[in-house]
Amino acid sequence: MTTPILQVQNLKKIFTRNGQSDFLAVDGVSFDVAPGECVGLIGESGSGKSTVANMIARLLNPTGGQIFLDGEDVTKTDVRAVCRKVQMIFQSPQESFDPRRTLGDGIGESLLTAGEPASETAEEVARLLEAVGLSSDFMCRYPHEVSGGQCQRAAIARALAIEPKLLLCDEATSALDVTVQAEIVSLLSHLMRGHGMACLFICHDIALAQSFCDRILVMYRGKIVEEGLPDEVIQSPKQEYTKMLIDSVL
């Protein structure tokens, strides 16, 4: 058995609101992701999915529990070192790029962080854009000059620049049209196979998670209430909550 690329153990996050009661957003979550594996995290808004991802990427500090990335404790690792192993792709690609800088600048910065010499950046950016199906002209475009789907491709190129071991996709295709979503999902699955990347795929579209992921975790009110192979979870759900979720799909 290979060592998991990601191990999450009894993870907790409490948000404290000014003078008000604390809110337990993530309540003792544990799971592993194997190298190259694609794990779907599904559940309704407010169930804690994004909070889990944000803690893995060190955008938030956990209140309790541990996260091991490639065997190292994330909370005790330098943020930059975490970024070299995990890259995140968000729902609104336009908002994840600096509006005053070109897509090429954004991707280039990622390359510099990865330790690429500045002299080779342009060439490398062009290669990355090509890998996500964009021509090198996109290097000079600004985020507002491209479509949502094109911008999400650029965001994937930026993530690839680091050659991460784990991609965190937080509703990465939820804002896209279905035809564009189909393109992005097939691009992701092609890239994951090619680079041996693992993926934690957060989404609320159960049918998409079933077709794209190797395994599914269902979150509800901060806890993982059910997990298993996609067909297992969706065809014979054990929990009432999962049944309700599946029954709601139109």
Binding site: V178, A182, S211, Q235, S248, V249, L250
Partner: protein
């Protein structure tokens, strides 16, 4: 079926760039019509064109939109304002965002109703509570007394849909009313709109990119691409046996749940 809303060769442009080209369709009384298509296909523009909401630079350059003998693009702002809400109501993606955050829900709805109708607050409260009750809200009086932030996004969206029909309009124009919602709340919102049609015989146009929503509620569907209608017909016919390449591609891209082994 009598037609209540008729689009005849409608072309609209933004800053002289045409975005909807020569579109014609009609909505029958008590009918639910779905308009699907990708972002930028012109579906929302069609609804906005009817209500004079195209904004600065947006204009209906040719064609008519008929509602009960009136051509909507020809009406003055004042005439449209009188129709709006009372006879033709609209619901948007973020109904919660149309509410003022620091005033109670009930007070805001009362204000909207008094713009058209001289009724007392007590009479309004009865009417609103009865409507919410009929639409299967559990605690109508609590909702009316709440501030918007005290209700969940899904609840606010359901309240927004209910609020749109407070004046018992003949037509409800719904622009992506379920797109920001979780699947479970989405289903409730769809059921709410079906119930509205059943109880009040309201004619509904629903614009959405969600094929599942259209399948669940629309009698007929129009598929749009780049400002043109590519296909239209009965919902089942269009979604299950699409005639056009584009519709086939669209349907193939929709993730489908495999509910049975080997299915």
């Amino acid at each position: 079926m009598n037609e209540i809303l008729q689009y005849v060769n409608v072309t609209t442009s933004y800053n002289a760039v045409p975005v909807v080209h020569d579109v014609s369709f009609s909505l029958g009384e008590g009918e639910i019509l779905g308009i699907v298509g990708e972002s930028g296909s012109g579906k929302s523009t069609l609804l906005k064109a009817a209500m004079g909401l195209l904004g600065a630079g947006g204009v209906v350059t040719s064609g008519d939109i008929w509602y009960r003998g009136k051509n909507l693009p020809d009406l003055s702002e004042e005439e449209l304002r009188r129709l709006s809400g009372a006879e033709i109501a609209m619901v948007f993606q973020q109904a919660g965002a149309s509410f003022c955050p620091v005033r109670r829900v009930g007070a805001q709805l009362y204000e909207a109703v008094t713009a058209h109708d001289a009724i007392s607050e007590a009479e309004f409260t009865d009417r609103a509570a009865e409507l919410l009750h009929k639409l299967r809200f559990e605690d109508a009086s609590r909702i009316l007394e709440s501030y918007p932030f005290e209700l969940s996004g899904g609840m606010m969206q359901r309240v927004g849909i209910a609020a749109a029909i407070l004046m018992n309009p003949s037509v409800l124009l719904a622009d992506e009313p379920t797109s920001a919602l979780d699947v479970s709340v989405q289903k409730q919102a769809v059921e709410e709109m079906c119930l509205i049609r059943e109880l009040y015989h309201t004619s509904i146009v629903i614009v959405t990119h969600n094929i599942g929503v259209v399948r669940a509620m629309a009698d007929r569907v129009i598929v749009m691409k780049e400002g043109r209608i590519v296909e239209s017909g009965g919902t089942r016919d269009v979604l299950e046996n699409p005639a056009r390449e584009y519709t086939k591609k669209l349907m193939a891209a929709v993730p489908k749940l495999r509910l049975r082994r080997g299915a």
